[in-house]
């Protein structure tokens, strides 16, 4: 299902998430000379996920900067540049590499505005790919969204389609704080990464538009059970909702869209209606985003639930390399269907 985009006068274009995000970056870079992109393979290659194709040609080597494999180095360069008044975009192709960036992110980028009494802003945007499902093993398949969400001072968005990708990128680039824009690898829109998930493609207006932080999105309305997800699990939930509908069960699909700040009111509004919730996340289960969703319900009003909540997440194990083992572990539509049916069978 796609969100209605305003009529631009030209023919409607269906774009991939990579292309839509890139449009936002290019538009903002044309407006503001302080924005530059730095990362591995962003210039010559145009980004491992096609996020910066054509940009080195348009903006030059000074504004689209290829680096060696040196995340600790270039996150430091970008953080310092941001404090000095520039607006860097750092591409971290695989979230798994974020470990060597923790100090710059957690102790400087997330805290300097506060610790300097507002004297220094850090208007830096990280552009990150995450997720598995294509046999890239434990060190290249993680999500780590909860890890990044845990430390205060960071805004995190996880668009699930091209329309949201562009709108949220505009919001990230216009924000004066550290913002992280994260896209699951399976929904970038890259044929070579395996089966493309076509529900991530969407009609995208040509002109810029910003989607505000902290607003979830209902992709499908329903009455019997709420399926909460973000990124790829929105698409799994949509498939699950179709399968459930064939059995007479009406599922509502809620896309968190922003992880920090989370739209807690949207979660409550949905579960007040349905009374049942399944939260799906490809990140590890323990202390995850799923737990934060359930904590929200438990704190605000657990009485809205008529059955125990169920989390469908990656088990707390390293992501396996073996295909059958990885498929066994990863959340998918069938696991969400099974969880939804369980909520309908049990009751508090």
């Amino acid at each position: 299902m796609t969100q209605q985009a305003p009529d631009t006068g030209g023919s409607a274009r269906t774009l991939t998430m990579a292309r839509a995000g890139r449009e936002a970056v290019i538009a903002e870079m044309r407006k503001d000379p302080n924005i530059f992109v730095i990362g591995e393979d962003v210039a010559k290659l145009g980004g491992v996920f096609g996020t910066t194709v054509g940009m080195a040609e348009e903006f030059g080597a000074g504004r689209v900067i290829d680096t060696p494999i040196s995340e600790t180095g270039f996150i430091g360069i970008a953080t310092g540049a941001a404090m000095a008044g520039m607006r860097p975009i750092v591409e971290i192709a695989f979230v798994d590499f974020i470990g060597v960036c923790f100090n710059a992110i957690f102790n400087f980028a997330a805290k300097t505005h506060y610790m300097s009494g507002g004297q220094f802003k850090v208007p830096m945007t990280l552009m990150i790919g995450y997720g598995g499902g294509y046999n890239d093993a434990a060190q290249h398949s993680q999500c780590l969204v909860a890890t990044l969400a845990h430390v205060p001072g960071i805004r995190i968005v996880t668009p699930a389609d091209a329309y949201d990708a562009k709108g949220l990128m505009h919001s990230c680039l216009q924000d004066d704080n550290l913002t992280i824009w994260m896209v699951h690898k399976a929904i970038w829109g890259l044929g070579w990464l395996g089966t493309a998930i076509k529900t991530a493609m969407a009609t995208v207006p040509e002109e810029p538009y910003a989607i505000p932080f902290g607003k979830a999105r209902i992709w499908r309305e329903g009455n019997d059970v709420t399926l909460v997800g973000y990124g790829i699990t929105v698409h799994h939930a949509l498939q699950a909702a179709e399968k459930l509908a064939a059995e007479g069960i009406s599922a509502e699909v809620l896309d968190l869209r922003t992880i920090v700040p989370m739209d807690r009111e949207a979660i409550m509004k949905s579960v007040r209606k349905t009374g049942r919730v399944v939260v799906a996340d490809e990140d590890y289960m323990n202390c995850g985003v799923t737990a934060e969703v359930l904590a929200t319900i438990a704190e605000r009003d657990p009485r809205v639930l008529t059955a125990p909540a169920i989390r469908v997440a990656n088990p707390d194990i390293p992501v396996p390399f073996s295909r059958p083992m990885e498929n066994f572990a990863l959340p998918d539509a069938d696991k969400i269907v099974a969880a939804a049916k369980t909520t309908l069978q049990s009751s508090c």
Binding site: S11, A12, T14, G50, G189, G191, W192, K198
Partner: protein, 78 residues
């Protein structure tokens, strides 16, 4: 009327490619020089540009396997 042909110089070898997605729907009005489709070859995502302006007719839908020289659509005059 202009054929939309997979260009001979779009990629280096004689590998097959696949139409990943059409940017516009069948019947849409398109402009010469604009991106109208994305193709995937090996690990590369390639761009197909409209050779003329007019109404797009899609002959080969997304997921069709193509070779260089394959006619995948037409642009008809308005």
């Amino acid at each position: 009327m202009t054929d939309i042909t997979v260009p001979q110089d779009l990629w280096d070898n004689d590998d097959e490619g696949v139409i990943f997605a059409w940017i516009y729907a069948d019947g849409a009005v398109v402009e010469q020089g604009r991106l109208i489709a994305e193709l995937t070859v090996e690990k590369a995502q390639l761009e197909l540009i409209a050779p003329a302006s007019g109404r797009l007719r899609i002959l080969a839908p997304a997921e069709t396997i193509v070779r260089k020289g394959t006619v995948i659509g037409r642009i008809e005059p308005l």
